[in-house]
């Protein structure tokens, strides 16, 4: 009985999250239809979706699995570059951009998942800060490799080479031109596709968390030794969460890349990984809804601060520090809690609220 009640609460919380995304989507669509949306916000819609997916997928690793990763942008990069190459190939035969994008996302997701397995198998033996630094290192390695990759497409098919551009092509075009990155990307990403991707990823994560596997993963986070003692296979469950997270990051990468006409490898460096981590921590570990809100707010925030001109990033830094202190300091927290009690909100059950880092 108790179990059922809990279940319902979780389901209710999940529904609220779905609803929040749908309502936001409908409002924005309404704004687009009536033309009341600013160019600035309109241009950010797809990147916001990509960052939201990045945030909820990283939350799966950091919040649900409880392992700190500093290389999440590496998976985004793997997905973005493979996905765009795939999109260029598919678009020769398929005219419908939506289908091309979906296929590209699948390819990007699979490639990122493969990279996730390659990274995850050795890395997940480590833990804590050592795992963090190794994921950071993998992110940098992926960046280094992609930066030296040349891919061209001509009638004979795809051509690859590393370090020096020695491709021998007759006609055709360069898809990835080493340090210059992706050139002439087909801009097929749309806000609707971004919304769909967010919903799909949310669905996968919520169902994973509420499944047997999800409970095993969270048991690992809360107490690895206890979990092991009841027969939970540490490596396979850790790898499962890690790879799913990587695949989603890969798809987010495809969405992100196909929104711009050019993408360079150095975009997906440690700073991007850290940016996504900021979304997750600020939104609350394990809270998907928090990640979505934090990713949206922190993507829009620097744009809203344009009025401060050269003081913009300074203000952003201060806001970041103040927000972290406000959400984590005991004194401030109590004061805010007292304030909240006046409104007597119903207590929400959010999974993994008190996750450790």
């Amino acid at each position: 009985m108790n179990y059922l009640k809990n279940m319902n609460k979780t389901t209710r919380s999940n529904m609220v999250t779905y609803l929040m995304v749908i309502v936001a989507f409908v409002i924005v669509q309404g704004m687009i239809a009536t033309g009341s949306i600013s160019s600035s916000l309109k241009g950010q819609l797809v990147p916001i979706c990509a960052y939201v997916v990045m945030a909820i997928s990283l939350n799966l690793t950091v919040g649900i699995l409880g392992e700190l990763s500093l290389g999440h942008a590496g998976f985004m990069s793997a997905g973005a570059f493979s996905g765009v190459v795939a999109a260029q190939c598919f678009s020769q035969n398929i005219d419908n951009p939506v289908i091309v994008l979906i296929l590209a996302m699948i390819v990007g997701g699979i490639v990122a998942a493969i990279v996730g397995v390659l990274v995850g198998v050795p890395v997940l033996r480590l833990s804590g800060d050592y795992l963090a630094i190794v994921t950071l290192a993998f992110g940098e390695i992926i960046k280094g490799i992609v930066m030296n990759l040349y891919v061209g497409l001509d009638a004979a098919g795809l051509h690859f080479c590393m370090i020096k551009n020695t491709l021998e092509m007759d006609g055709g075009k360069m898809l990835i031109n080493g340090p210059m990155g992706l050139i002439g990307v087909p801009r097929i990403a749309t806000f609707v596709m971004g919304f769909v991707l967010v919903m799909v990823c949310l669905f996968v994560i919520f169902n994973l968390v509420n499944s047997k596997s999800g409970r095993a993963i969270m048991a690992l986070r809360d107490n690895k030794i206890a979990a092991q003692s009841v027969g939970i296979n540490v490596t396979s469950y850790k790898l499962m969460a890690f790879v799913i997270s990587a695949a989603m990051a890969g798809m987010a990468g495809v969405l992100f890349a196909t929104n711009f006409s050019t993408v360079v490898a150095s975009k997906f460096d440690i700073n991007t990984s850290i940016l996504v981590l900021v979304f997750v921590v600020l939104g609350g570990l394990g809270s998907m809804r928090g990640s979505i809100i934090a990713a949206t707010v922190l993507t829009v925030l620097p744009e809203m601060l344009r009025e401060f001109s050269e003081y913009r990033m300074l203000v952003y830094a201060i806001v970041l520090i103040v927000m972290m202190i406000a959400t984590n300091n005991a004194t401030v927290k109590n004061a805010l809690d007292g304030f909240a009690r006046k409104f007597s909100f119903k207590k929400k059950s959010e999974k993994g609220e008190n996750a450790n880092g």
Binding site: I37, G181, G290, M313, A340
Partner: protein
């Protein structure tokens, strides 16, 4: 847990506010417009900030001067893109909301490639001061460059070295993760090959390893390179010069326009740059009246000597002014009308600026002007 709720609510409120705040713009055009709104994006923060700030300051000086001349009036605004394609598109959109009618594109190449696609889509004319990659203008009929395209610099450098018979064995160090540097290198290597220049050593560095050049220099030294080609900005070049000096390796050094600025670095030992050659369209030491006046004004306002980015931006505004005057453009025209006028003017007019006289533009948007070969002697540029 309640805490979370409060924060979440606060954030949603914040977000909603943001959306509402964003609503105002909507590209509404001011009917009583008196000045043409010119906007550009560039890195005003972060590691590349020096280039964006130089463009902003150079353009501001020019706008003030041009407005004092009478005729077409300009209003100029620069938005920060932190040298990132994504943020550049955001900045571009913010400028659109502001009502931008003519664009200065972006300052650096990667953001420039991204905003050029937007310029093309929206039919807003762009004249970029310094985004020099070919991908910026390629396939976009309304994006023009004030600076040399990278391939031009690369092949012109190779040509110059071959013509003047400066060296038999050439070494190259370039910045692998930089579009500008690797773009120049590629065409340099191709052209050098055609001209029979012998490239004996090619090494790279990245932003992450921009401190130590001993390996690269040692490689060039061992290969017997008597000329080192450095297609990069002056900050990295200054380290190379000083480390080569420490090693006792003294080949000829040959730079491109990014090398300009090396002499004005605060604390730089000018002796290290003695004999360095560079192809640049602008030198702050030139003794024509316009350059002198510009340099003096820039120094007075910002306490620094302007580099070629500032000069390019200054020229951009004057070129736009000339084009607008010729075409009879007025501030109440839409961006698209101005776009058509500008495209016609720029492919037909000749422009004299700080960064070269008699400049013309091809239909692809690339500029034709003569780079000046300079050599540094006793701490000043001397024409070669």
């Amino acid at each position: 847990m309640k805490m979370k709720k409060v924060i979440a609510t606060a954030m949603v409120g914040f977000m909603a506010m943001g959306m509402l705040a964003g609503c105002g713009g909507g590209g509404a055009k001011d009917d009583a417009a008196t000045a043409i709104k010119v906007g550009g994006t560039g890195p005003l923060t972060g590691g590349a900030a020096i280039y964006g700030l130089a463009v902003q300051r150079g353009a501001e000086i020019a706008v003030e001067e041009v407005n004092a001349l009478g005729g077409v009036q300009f209003e100029f605004k620069m938005e920060d893109d932190a040298h990132d394609a994504e943020k550049a598109v955001n900045a571009y959109n913010a400028l659109k909301d502001w009502g931008m009618q003519i664009s200065l594109g972006s300052v650096t190449s990667t953001p420039g490639t991204a905003t050029a696609a937007e310029n093309d889509n929206d039919r807003i004319f762009a004249l970029t001061p310094s985004a020099s990659a070919t991908t910026v203008t390629e396939g976009h009929d309304n994006v023009f460059q004030m600076c040399f395209a990278d391939p031009n610099q690369g092949s012109a450098s190779a040509q110059y070295i071959a013509d003047q018979q400066l060296a038999t064995k050439v070494g190259v160090i370039y910045k692998n993760d930089d579009v500008y540097s690797s773009g120049i290198y590629e065409t340099f290597a191709t052209r050098a090959n055609e001209l029979g220049l012998n490239i004996v050593s090619t090494t790279t560095f990245t932003t992450d390893s921009q401190n130590d050049f001993t390996v690269q220099l040692q490689d060039a030294k061992n290969a017997g390179a008597d000329l080192l080609f450095l297609p990069m900005y002056y900050d990295a070049a200054s380290l190379i010069l000083s480390q080569a000096n420490d090693m006792g390796y003294a080949p000829k050094f040959f730079g491109v326009d990014g090398m300009d600025g090396i002499l004005t670095m605060e604390g730089f030992n000018a002796e290290l740059a003695e004999g360095v050659m560079l192809l640049t369209p602008f030198s702050a030491d030139a003794d024509d009246e316009r350059t002198k006046a510009f340099v003096a004004k820039y120094q007075e306002l910002h306490g620094e000597v302007p580099n070629q980015f500032a000069a390019d931006a200054y020229d951009c505004i004057y070129a736009l002014y000339q084009a607008c005057e010729n075409a009879g453009a007025t501030a109440d025209m839409t961006a698209e009308e101005l776009n058509d006028l500008m495209m016609k003017e720029f492919t037909s007019m000749t422009f004299d600026g700080l960064t070269g006289t008699g400049a013309t533009w091809t239909a692809e948007g690339q500029v034709n002007k003569a780079p000046k070969g300079m050599v540094i002697q006793n701490g000043v540029y001397v024409g070669m």
